[in-house]
């Protein structure tokens, strides 16, 4: 192994240092300095990541071990980082998008008080650190450390404006729902330890260790890992935290809740694809597919009727994550990773764009109060439109290629699945353009003050938008399907040593493949047109009927509240006020009271009367004699 590569620890360490400096010095450092440190540390990581990428490209994959984190008996968990193609790709995404968002944030958050500004960057740096740890971890435990770390940062950043209890509640919700998934993840790890005796990827995915796992082990482990992923990657049934997480500052939403953290689940499954590709994981794969599909569809329907600019994007994210899971479930791991990448570009772009809008609107997020912003905010409008086209999947924008790969994979599995997936893609196009049109075209519907205030965002904000827009356009070129160009799927080729998709059972002819692309593209274009027609002259009106159900997110939050939160709340109250006090403690105190009562009663024997004393004595004597002489033998 190349010793120079040992220094990959610097990649996560730089953001960590940034976190420490910004965190401890938040009251003493100037905002500029904080911004510089925050962004600079990520930039350092980015440069290192690029260097690492180069190394990997040359075939230098390796594991760097530093010290033993935990070593008990035969279980040894080193603190080790793994660099391979998969992590290299993710490193680039994280540091790249992360850097842009840091730069953007320095401007976006400039209004904050100095201490809070420092805190914000500290959190952000800590997040990047955790995310890097997550993707670099050479074993499941290090991965898990990063996994929970990003959860923590997400919690901290959602509740960044901690004066608003609504936001704090959202933060709690995010953390707790993540924890539910984390529990499953943990149990999966324990299961693996119990069966295979190791958590290190390199050792785990060897034939020897895999052979130790029975079919049911694999089913259980893969399912548990998947449940873990549903928490982090916002899938049914644990997706409801993500829309609420929009309480955090918009760059946070862009970074954490669109580009990086939420894709951790996809990364984790891709990382352990060896398990998922096994025959015994068939059931799990199906479950993943259908869960992903259902999530994608459900979120897309909800997104149709949301009025909060960030909520639309949040549901869109959930929906896109669903797509990625469909890819995973159908064995198209590369497609999933590909979509992670393209999604990181365009969704970060969209979020940052919405941030620009919100910034301009003075904090307003309701699109019903917007309209016609395109005139005042050209760059934002333009880049936002690029993002919409990319996500809608129009060639040659990046989204097209990645989504196409997924749709293809779905078709191979079943045409019905494909149909649903296409339908969902159409919904995506529809609600994205609804958003675009309501926000940027037509008449302005906000207050005069807001109108007066409208302006394009500063350079520091628009520049990242532009860069991301470019990436959204060209990002797909790394994965051009083979049918279009021989050797166009560079991503697959690059990832091949680390991750490769499951081979399809039967092949599709080139013409069929073109046909499918054509159908989807045509339908998408039609849908976009329809959306433009419907929302061209948007007027605010109350949602009714089915639209109301959608606007209220199918009442899922209310359902969870009713069947889980409320009963637990009630149970807690019952246990606290009644069971614990009356029954458990009551028994203890009751014993005491019983003694007291017994004392009072027994005292009556002591009547003070000689006669009764003698009587009691004689009676006991009679009793004892009777037993001694007539009952005992």
């Amino acid at each position: 192994m190349n010793n120079a590569l040992q220094i990959v620890y610097l990649i996560p360490l730089l953001p960590l240092l940034g976190f420490l400096i910004n965190g401890l010095g938040r009251n003493y450092l100037s905002k500029t300095l904080i911004g510089l440190i925050g962004s600079g540390s990520i930039l350092g990581s980015l440069i290192l990541s690029i260097w690492v990428f180069m190394q990997v490209k040359d075939g230098n994959t390796f594991v760097a071990e530093y010290f033993n984190f935990i070593a008990v008996d035969k279980l040894v968990i080193p603190f080790a980082l793994k660099i391979d193609q998969l992590s290299a790709v993710f490193l680039l995404i994280i540091t790249g998008v992360g850097f842009l968002i840091h730069v953007y944030s320095a401007s976006y958050m400039h209004e904050e008080k100095p201490g809070h500004f420092g805190r914000y960057f500290a959190y952000l740096n800590l997040f990047v650190f955790s995310m890097l740890l997550l993707v670099m971890g050479a074993n499941l435990v290090i991965l898990f450390i990063g996994w929970e770390g990003v959860g923590l940062c997400s919690y901290l950043l959602i509740g960044y404006w901690f004066k608003k209890q609504e936001y704090n509640k959202a933060a709690n919700k995010a953390f707790i729902m993540n924890r539910i998934g984390d529990l499953a993840f943990l149990i999966a790890i324990f299961w693996l330890i119990a069966r295979a005796g190791t958590v290190s990827f390199d050792e785990l995915f060897t034939a020897v260790n895999l052979a130790k796992l029975s079919a049911s082990d694999i089913t259980v482990i893969t399912l548990l890992l998947f449940i873990g992923a549903t928490g982090k990657s916002a899938q049914i049934p644990l997706y409801t935290w993500l829309p609420d997480a929009m309480a955090g500052p918009t760059p946070v939403s862009a970074l954490i809740h669109a580009a990086t953290m939420v894709t951790a689940g996809i990364y984790m499954i891709a990382r352990s694809h060896v398990l998922y590709s096994m025959d015994a994981a068939e059931l799990t794969r199906n479950i993943i597919t259908y869960t992903g599909m259902a999530t994608a569809l459900l979120a897309a329907t909800i997104a149709l009727k949301q009025n909060d600019i960030k909520k639309v994007l949040a549901y869109s994210t959930v929906s896109q994550l669903g797509f990625m899971f469909v890819a995973l479930g159908t064995g198209a791991y590369v497609a999933a990773v590909f979509h992670v990448m393209t999604h990181a570009f365009f969704k970060a772009l969209l979020f940052l764009g919405s941030g620009s809008v919100i910034h301009a609107m003075g904090g307003e997020q309701d699109i019903r109060n917007m309209g016609g912003l395109g005139k005042k905010m050209k760059i934002t409008y333009g880049t936002f439109m690029v993002g919409c086209i990319a996500i809608a999947g129009i060639p040659p924008f990046s989204g097209f290629f990645s989504k196409d790969a997924i749709l293809l994979s779905a078709f191979m599995k079943s045409p019905v699945l494909y149909a649903v997936a296409v339908f969902t893609a159409l919904l995506t196009a529809f609600y994205m353009f609804r958003l675009l049109i309501i926000t940027f075209t037509g008449k302005f519907r906000g207050t005069d003050e807001q109108a007066h205030h409208l302006h394009e965002s500063p350079m520091a904000m628009t520049l990242p938008l532009i860069i991301l827009a470019v990436l959204s356009i060209v990002g797909g070129l790394v994965g051009i399907p083979e049918v279009i160009r021989e050797g166009g799927d560079k991503l697959s080729a690059f990832l091949a040593p680390a991750v490769s998709s499951m081979p399809h059972e039967h092949h599709l002819s080139h013409s069929d493949e073109y046909l499918l692309m054509g159908i989807s593209t045509g339908l998408v274009l039609a849908t976009i047109l329809a959306a433009i027609m419907v929302y061209r002259n948007y007027q605010r009106k109350e949602a009714t009927g089915f639209a109301k159900v959608l606007e209220n997110k199918w009442y899922v939050d209310e359902l969870y509240d009713r069947i889980i939160v409320q009963p637990l709340h009630w149970l807690g109250g019952f246990l606290k006020d009644i069971f614990d006090l009356k029954v458990v403690d009551g028994l203890v105190n009751g014993a005491g009271r019983l003694v007291n009562y017994g004392s009072r009663q027994l005292r009556l024997l002591q009547s003070g009367q000689v006669g009764s004393y003698v009587l009691l004595m004689v009676l006991s004597m009679v009793l004892i004699f009777a037993i001694q002489f007539f009952l005992r033998k």
């Binding site: 004689v618 004699f625 002489f629």
Partner: protein, 168 residues
């Protein structure tokens, strides 16, 4: 089964003893109680004589019937209790007391009746261990230590009577 004069005497004395004991317990007037108790003691002394325990018979009459009971009588007279002053005690308690005592007797008798060997006999009217000569010899040889110790008992009783009785 031939009934001898001793049998007749035995039964007579027993009946007298029990009857006077019952009368002692049931008499309302304390003075009568004392007198009935003396009668009991006489009957018991009679038994002693039947058993050839002449010394004890005499001592019983002199010490118990003579000295102790007179002391009782004297105290009763001193307190002017020679009237039927005792108010009715709780009747249930009385019945319970009588029942309990009766039960105790029945159980003890039943327990000892089975077990006490029939052939074991207290020899009546024979042997001379009860004579003062024999008892005295034994008392001042073998039992001299307890005899001396009983003087401590008397001393303490004496001190006690002084402590209790002395006017302050």
């Amino acid at each position: 089964m031939n009934i001898t004069i001793i049998d007749i005497l035995w039964w007579f004395l027993s009946v007298v003893a029990i009857f006077s004991a019952l009368m002692m317990v049931t008499s309302k007037n304390p003075v009568y109680s004392v007198l009935w108790l003396i009668a009991t003691f006489f009957a018991i002394s009679g038994h002693y004589i039947l058993l050839n325990a002449q010394f004890l018979a005499i001592v019983n009459i002199i010490v118990y019937a003579g000295a102790i009971m007179v002391l009782f009588l004297f105290v009763i007279m001193l307190m002017n209790l020679n009237k039927e002053t005792e108010p009715q005690k709780n009747r249930w308690l009385k019945i319970a007391g009588a029942l309990a005592g009766g039960c105790l007797m029945l159980i003890l008798v039943a327990a000892l009746k089975d077990a006490a060997a029939k052939e074991q006999v207290a020899s009546v009217n024979q042997g001379n261990i009860g004579l003062i000569k024999n008892l005295g010899k034994e008392l001042f040889t073998t039992y001299v230590v307890p005899f001396e110790i009983s003087s401590v008992l008397f001393l303490s009783a004496m001190v006690g009577a002084v402590v209790i009785g002395k006017k302050e």
